[in-house]
Symmetry: C2
Subunit: 197 residues, 2 copies
Amino acid sequence: MASTNRRGRRPGSPDTRATILGEARTLFAAKGYAGTSVRAVAAAAGVDAALVHHYFGTKDDLFLAALQVPLDPREVLLPVAQGGVDGAGERLLRTFLAVWDDEATRLPLLTLVRSVFDPEGQRLVRDGFMLMVLKPVAAALGVEDAELRMSLVASQLMGIVMVRYVVGVEPLASASHDELVAAYAPALQRYLDGPLG
Amino acid sequence: MASTNRRGRRPGSPDTRATILGEARTLFAAKGYAGTSVRAVAAAAGVDAALVHHYFGTKDDLFLAALQVPLDPREVLLPVAQGGVDGAGERLLRTFLAVWDDEATRLPLLTLVRSVFDPEGQRLVRDGFMLMVLKPVAAALGVEDAELRMSLVASQLMGIVMVRYVVGVEPLASASHDELVAAYAPALQRYLDGPLG
């Protein structure tokens, strides 16, 4: 805490919160979710770990804040996770489309996806998407071979991001959710629980 | 040709070839494949259209040269296009993986994919991938609803690019071609000729 005072930051000020968030973003980008502790973020920001928890809650909360995405995947994904694996492909796709068709969430998510081409951004995207979205869904649904199956799911969802939302290829860019469900849900469902060999 | 001489370029010099290629790239990026004529490229480069054809061949050849990708999709895709629609999902995937697993082609292709986030690059990627790769395959295979079906195929292949080759998510990044065929070929085949509703 001494260094905090030396730099003139007051605990509880917006400056302190922003400093913590900036250090968290830097560390999560450089070392990934698993390689970053709340304690390390606190040390980098020159504050006590308790203050980090006070501002941001758990490590997951801090990570989600560092991703700068205006939604909490743990809430958004509840309807996907709670319904069992039957029909989960369709539920996951409908949730994904609702989030991405909403400009308020699409624009910050696009910023995150764009960062995938620089090495530090890659880690945020991978950890954010795999650990905060797909892994909890797989656990809730009881998906077997979760790493393989969820990376298959990730590859189809990420491709929809690129083709529908980044490049805007027609007719996919203008297709309704029902049309997209008819086209994609069987593939996603097979990735979740179908035969892969 | 007067302007060429005024600028001191000799027809037939490497400079002239590079100038044509630079103008072609600029025009294809700004106006797309359909909106760019060989005549317009020639005018922008201050040369005669015949000289453009002399150096680069057809408009397709010029477009492929402008994409700066060290392969000719018309040759690479022959085994995909020639075998009929049965099994085309697997043949397309194996061809795609062979091209992307080869560093000599992967690195220039990654440069192209990265450019998808700037508006001009988007057009090159979209026209390059859809018009030079997927549309001729669809035509050769007799795919119905080709625009929808090939954009579904595009979304899965582009997602594999992002997850396997850009981000490197395991186990997809290290999976063998046979494993990837087992996982993806049925989905690709359904996008090509299966029920979508």
